[in-house]
């Protein structure tokens, strides 16, 4: 409350636009890296020797799903802010929308995963389905009773249909909400109509969002081992997505502020709230992660324990222990400090750290499956089942850098398209003067 009270005189009447010449260099480097990386990656995914193609499919899946969770999280925060009728975050809401708007573009990087040449290394169940010529269900009845029972959900047309649904439905949701929000920026007679409309059209999309985060997790990640299942899988991925998309939002806001944008409208109070949300989801992630482990550990059912059996073997076990402390204990203690959350620079350091832990989390979700599945699917090429595949790590880095650079490019492009905060939103002054 000590700072200056923001009035409408402080709000940029025609919006606060990103100076594109300042970010042109970062943007073109990101684009260059992304294009080059994509070309190399496409070669590695489709034309390289099988011994490279197999492991790299997992690298691509890891990188794709990591950045997809960030984009989906952006949609989530937009929806939550609208549907909860919030006023605090109006000045940073455009960043939520911009992050969410990367969703359809990031999803395009999943296109290779729709090709059978790539799927054959990832999804054993699809191979079994494709072996059938003619009646798939009849074939499964003879080959694998589990897949026969799961046929109603795990079948190729439905799988492709769901993939299309994620892209179209959630893409339409964020496109519509962002358009509704940015149209207000230039409206000569801004009123509350769009605000109420955005609130209304954010409630049922929460269901679309929940289906997307849950079932992309089922289809792309849980499907790696068709025998394994976890009822907490969707909420586990959601916890990580919400936490880390907030970390990205904190980073973007800090970056914009350091360039002189978001002046007057965002301050320590906003970062304090965003830090609190990060804290909340750090705790929530730990709660869900532990609950998932705990249920599987206690029940001790063969189909369920396979996940932790793979990941608690060899060096993966060290990484899993590290995840417990690195993803929960350390950020929990650090984010308890109120003064730290009010400082954008310090909070950004925590945000970068959290994103590193998210990368480790997703690495441990996808990659330990690689040595096991490849050995199971094509032992004549990949040899016996092994804990990890030597040298495949470089592919993981390549895929991560490629999609990461593309993500940065898409995000900066989105930031440059409209005003950086909804300057004619009825709640902008309420948000600018927020105190908590």
């Amino acid at each position: 409350m000590a700072h200056h009270h923001v009035t409408s005189a402080d709000i940029a009447i025609n919006g606060d636009h990103l100076d594109t010449s300042k970010v042109a260099k970062v943007k073109s480097i990101a684009l260059g890296v992304a294009v080059l990386g994509t070309v190399v990656s496409l070669y590695l995914l489709f034309f390289a020797p099988e011994k490279i193609r197999g492991p790299f499919a997992y690298s691509w899946l890891f990188a794709f799903y990591f950045f997809l969770t960030l984009a989906i999280g952006g949609v989530f925060w937009t929806l939550l802010h609208n549907v909860s009728n919030s006023g605090w975050g109006t000045s940073v809401r455009r960043t939520f929308e911009n992050l969410g708007s990367t969703f359809p573009w990031v999803f395009l990087f999943g296109l290779p995963l729709l090709c059978p040449q790539v799927q054959q290394y990832l999804y054993e169940w699809m191979n079994i389905h494709r072996e059938a010529h003619g009646n798939v269900k009849e074939h499964l009845h003879h080959v694998d009773h589990l897949l026969y029972n799961k046929y109603w959900f795990m079948n190729l047309p439905f799988w492709y249909g769901r993939a299309a649904f994620y892209l179209v439905a959630l893409g339409a949701v964020i496109y519509g909400l962002r358009k509704l929000s940015t149209d207000q920026d230039t409206d000569p007679n801004p009123g509350t109509a769009r605000l109420l409309k955005a609130r209304y059209h954010s409630n049922y999309p929460l269901i679309i969002f929940a289906l997307t985060i849950t079932f992309t997790g089922f289809d792309f990640a849980m499907g790696l081992d068709y025998k394994w299942f976890s009822t907490m899988w969707g909420v586990y991925l959601f916890a990580g997505a919400a936490l880390n998309s907030m970390a990205v939002i904190v980073l973007v806001c800090t970056w914009l502020k350091s360039m002189g944008h978001l002046k007057h409208v965002t301050g320590p109070e906003h970062f304090h709230i965003m830090g609190k949300l990060m804290f909340a989801f750090t705790t929530f992630w730990a709660y869900i992660a532990f609950s998932q482990f705990f249920l599987i550990w206690y029940a001790n059912i063969t189909e369920e324990t396979s996940y932790f059996l793979i990941r608690n073997t060899g060096n993966w076990n060290t990484a899993m222990y590290f995840l417990v402390f690195g993803h929960f204990v350390v950020p929990f203690v650090v984010l308890l400090q109120a003064w730290l959350k009010k400082n954008p620079k310090l909070l950004s350091i925590v945000a970068v750290y959290t994103l590193c832990m998210h990368a480790l989390d997703h690495y441990l979700i996808i990659i330990p499956e690689r040595g096991v599945s490849l050995g199971k699917i094509k032992p004549e090429i990949f040899g016996d089942i092994q804990v990890s595949i030597p040298g495949a790590f470089w592919g993981d880095i390549l895929a991560f850098v490629t999609i990461g650079a593309a993500f940065i490019f898409i995000l900066i492009r989105a930031l440059g398209q409209h005003s950086l905060y909804p300057n004619r939103d009825p709640r902008i002054l309420e948000s600018a003067n927020v105190s908590n």
Binding site: M1, A2, F290, F293, F294, W297, Y298, N300, S435
Partner: protein, 184 residues
Amino acid sequence: MSITRKRVYGYLAEFKSASALYKGAEKIRDAGFKKWDCYSPYPVHGLDSAMGMKRSILPWFVFFGGMTGTATAFALAYSTQVVIYPTIVQAKPANIFTVPAFFPIMFELTILFSGFTVLFGLLALIQLPRLNHPLFASRQFHRATDDGFFIAIEARDPKFSPNETRDLLADIGGSNIELVEEED
């Protein structure tokens, strides 16, 4: 006429509104007073910083209270389930790696002990329960629970002076300024 000995508690001044109270509090804070307090029928947002109040020590009590809870639960579960009477369920080990099974208890006792420390630590810090408060001697003070906003500056504050403090309260918008006396 009463023959009870009386002692000056301090000055009580009424303010017109929450915002007048807030602005008055900032001025008294800047004047350097330490032993004083605001009274309002409802919580006033940001009043703690206007009063220049330091952060409470309570979180530290709670932290150590919670840690005691965690340690107690672990000691309890470990000593009974591993050392004294190892319980083997589904061939799971009874050793330090059984710790996931103890987590719910460790979590619950952390919360329980934290909760207790919050309650009893808070009561100790604000010195409740107490039977009486010197300000209850004031006839106008009961309005603090209805529509009155008050500031009371205690006489034991080193900056207190019978005339200047009254003038200060009047300057910053206080009305119905009253010297409250408590029975000794």
